[in-house]
């Protein structure tokens, strides 16, 4: 029995985890608690520190400050192999001179497990991942998707407490990525282990994770379920990073329950006065006929048709650019004059520093 068998607290706790390289701060006091069995996505642009955080959890890099607890044990001073974590690397990191069977069995061989048990476990993982026919092949004889599965298999055979995945799908083509995404979710449900998944692809994060940790410049911007992050972004960065096309943002100020900026519209009375950034998702922008009294006059500059949806890029009379998402069958034409309505209930407000302003309804 391993120490993790009787433990029932959080799977992973990060307390003020920081990483500096000289004077450069790569991670700035990250706090995070991950429940057992949870699928967490670390999402953010390149250089935001998400892969560094993953390596710190794996023990492949030393942290400058803070504590990492895995299954209730302080992991700071444990070797990678002692942390009971398995990692899937971006470029798979398969041993090129070993067959698929040897690759998958390597961690078990290293822990001194008897050869027949290793064979049985590798066979089991291979059937789970449909790799039985490839067991005697070398990595360079496999397709990208198969290599990806071997890397997963090498992680699975160990039955680790935590899976760490560093952009594991980024080297696959678009179609295969969608397939593997679903396969990973199925696998997570079946294996049920805590998983931390690094990605810069918001679609991966939104579709796979129970919760998303959105990062920028080494700082956690928001932690929440995909729905929370999308509906109530914590700041303007989150509002524009998540969602495609991103949220429309307009700078201005509030006074007398009115937004004054490149256009003036009424806002809920609860919004406090002062400089603000007003935000609205493209799908919430309503297009009505030109001349509508309550609408903002605008001209359609570009119509981007992407199948089920169409994105309308428009300019208001005062020069503000607005994007709307409409039905793909819409007959909107470039150059057409329309009017826009921004429903008050759908508006988000961010203060001068870019942070979300709480209004009563949202608590």
């Amino acid at each position: 029995m391993t120490p993790t068998d009787t433990y029932s607290g959080p799977a992973i706790e990060l307390i003020e985890v920081a990483k500096h390289y000289g004077k450069v701060t790569v991670l700035d006091r990250v706090d995070l608690t991950v429940a057992p069995g949870e699928f967490i996505a670390l999402l953010g642009p390149s250089g935001c520190g998400k892969s560094t955080l993953l390596k710190l959890i794996a023990g492949l890099d030393e942290l400058s400050h803070g504590e990492i607890h895995i299954a209730g044990r302080l992991a700071n001073y444990l070797k990678p192999a002692e942390r009971d974590v398995a990692m899937v690397f971006q470029n798979y990191a398969l041993y090129p001179h070993m067959t698929v069977r040897e690759n998958m069995g390597f961690p078990l061989k290293m822990s001194g497990i008897a050869r027949d048990i290793v064979t049985a476990k590798v066979d089991e993982a291979a059937s789970l991942l449909q790799l039985n026919a490839q067991l005697d092949r070398f990595p360079d004889e496999l397709s990208g998707g198969q290599r990806q599965r071997v890397a997963l298999g090498r992680a699975i055979v160990r039955e680790p407490y935590v899976f760490l995945m560093d952009e594991p799908l980024s080297n696959l083509d678009a179609l295969l990525r969608v397939e593997m995404r679903a396969e990973l979710v199925r696998l997570h449900k079946r294996v049920g282990r805590t998983t931390i998944y690094v990605t810069h692809d918001q679609v991966e994060a939104m579709t796979m994770a129970n919760r998303i940790v959105l990062m920028k410049g080494g700082v956690v911007q928001q932690v929440g379920t995909p729905a929370e992050i999308y509906a109530t972004p914590a700041n303007t960065f989150v509002a524009t990073f998540v969602g495609s096309p991103p949220m429309n943002l307009f700078k201005g100020h509030i006074g007398g329950a009115q937004f004054h900026g490149s256009f003036d519209i009424p806002v809920p009375a609860r919004v406090t006065s002062g400089d603000v950034t007003l935000g609205i998702r493209p799908e919430h922008v309503e297009i009505v006929e030109a001349g509508d009294k309550e609408g903002l006059a605008a001209t359609i500059d570009v119509v981007e048709r992407v199948g089920p949806d169409a994105y309308l890029r428009m300019t208001t009379q005062a020069g503000a650019t607005v994007t709307a998402r409409v039905d793909g069958a819409s007959r909107a034409r470039e150059g057409e004059r329309v009017a826009l309505r921004l429903p008050p209930a759908r508006l988000s407000f961010f203060d001068a520093a870019g942070n979300r302003m709480s209004i009563d309804k949202e608590g």
């Binding site: 390596k55 001179h97 090498r154």
Partner: protein, 318 residues
């Protein structure tokens, strides 16, 4: 599968602006220009290859079939020089000395170089200083290296005996019949270990870091990572080093000449040294010298083939 004009559908007449013959002529001209350019670039290398390698080897074959000395009258004797080889003066001693020399020096050079390389690859700061120090003996000409070692191995005031005396031992005659060949081999290790160490460092640094991170997570100890990753991944480079170091080892000459003059007696007379003696020494038999050289060339070729077979294995580390 080549294109066959007979099964190709005929192009609608009048669509092509050039006649098929004209297309063939232009395409032939284009190929010819490319080939001429390619050969023009290769020509200087081929010229050097022929002048400095093919002609000397052919010359050696010609001389090996003749008796007499350099500069004197020679006559054709057929394969007599080869047939007499086993009985000529000092042949067996030279072969034994050369083999013993290579057996001591080559493994020590390669194992030592690999060990140094593994350490050098771990150094993050100031690595270039260590690399220079390790590589320095490589820059020293063989003759100078032998002179340095002549001083260090001197019975009365040499560094080696200084250490032996310091440890309370009796002075050793390093270049006596018992130790001279070993000292010569160690001198070769000193001269060449840095070269191969640097060679291996470059290879080790080039190995993918993620493989090592994965292995660390998989629970592989430092020794296991060396055994299961580094050595298999460097297999082909190590093979190359074994072949080349062996070839160099079998050709040792300059240090043997300066350090011990092949002695005492024939204790350090190597094959090439024997060739030199027959060629330019008192015996002056260029035919015998050429025959020995040819046998050495063929031996090295065969050895390389055998090593290639032995070390040819699984993929990885290309």
């Amino acid at each position: 599968m080549g294109l066959d004009a007979r099964v190709m559908p005929a192009a609608p007449s009048g669509r092509l602006r050039l006649a098929p013959e004209e297309h063939r002529r232009l395409s032939r001209n284009r190929r010819l220009r490319r080939e001429v350019l390619g050969w023009a670039f290769l020509a200087p290398m081929f010229l050097c290859f022929v002048i400095f390698l093919v002609l000397p080897v052919l010359g050696t074959v010609w001389w090996s079939l003749r008796s007499g000395g350099l500069g004197g009258d020679t006559k054709f004797v057929g394969l007599k020089n080869f047939i007499d080889l086993p009985d000529i003066v000092g042949a067996s001693a030279a072969v034994t000395n050369t083999l013993v020399f290579a057996l001591i020096s080559v493994p020590l050079i390669l194992v030592g170089a690999l060990a140094i390389a593994l350490l050098l690859a771990r150094i993050e700061r100031g690595g270039s200083i260590y690399r220079f120090l390790i590589y320095f003996p490589v820059l020293v000409p063989g003759v100078v290296a032998a002179l340095i070692w002549l001083f260090m191995t001197n019975v009365d005031f040499g560094l080696f005996n200084g250490v032996v005396r310091g440890l309370g031992g009796k002075p050793v005659v390093w270049l006596g019949a018992d130790h001279a060949l070993t000292v010569l081999a160690i001198l070769d290790v000193w001269r060449n270990v840095g070269y191969w160490a640097l060679f291996f460092v470059a290879a080790i640094i080039g190995l993918p870091k993620e493989l090592y991170q994965a292995a660390e997570l998989d629970g592989a100890s430092a020794f296991a990572r060396l055994r299961y990753l580094t050595l298999p991944l460097m297999r082909r480079i190590i093979f190359f080093a074994v072949v080349v170091a062996t070839i160099w080892g079998l050709q040792v000459f300059d240090t043997a000449l300066v350090l011990t003059s092949g002695g005492p007696g024939t204790a350090t007379t190597t094959v090439i040294y024997r060739v030199w003696l027959y060629m330019f020494g008192a015996t002056n038999k260029i035919g015998v010298a050429s025959a020995i050289s040819l046998v050495l060339i063929v031996t090295i070729l065969l050895l390389t083939l055998v090593q290639m077979r032995l070390l040819r294995g699984r993929r990885g580390g290309d």
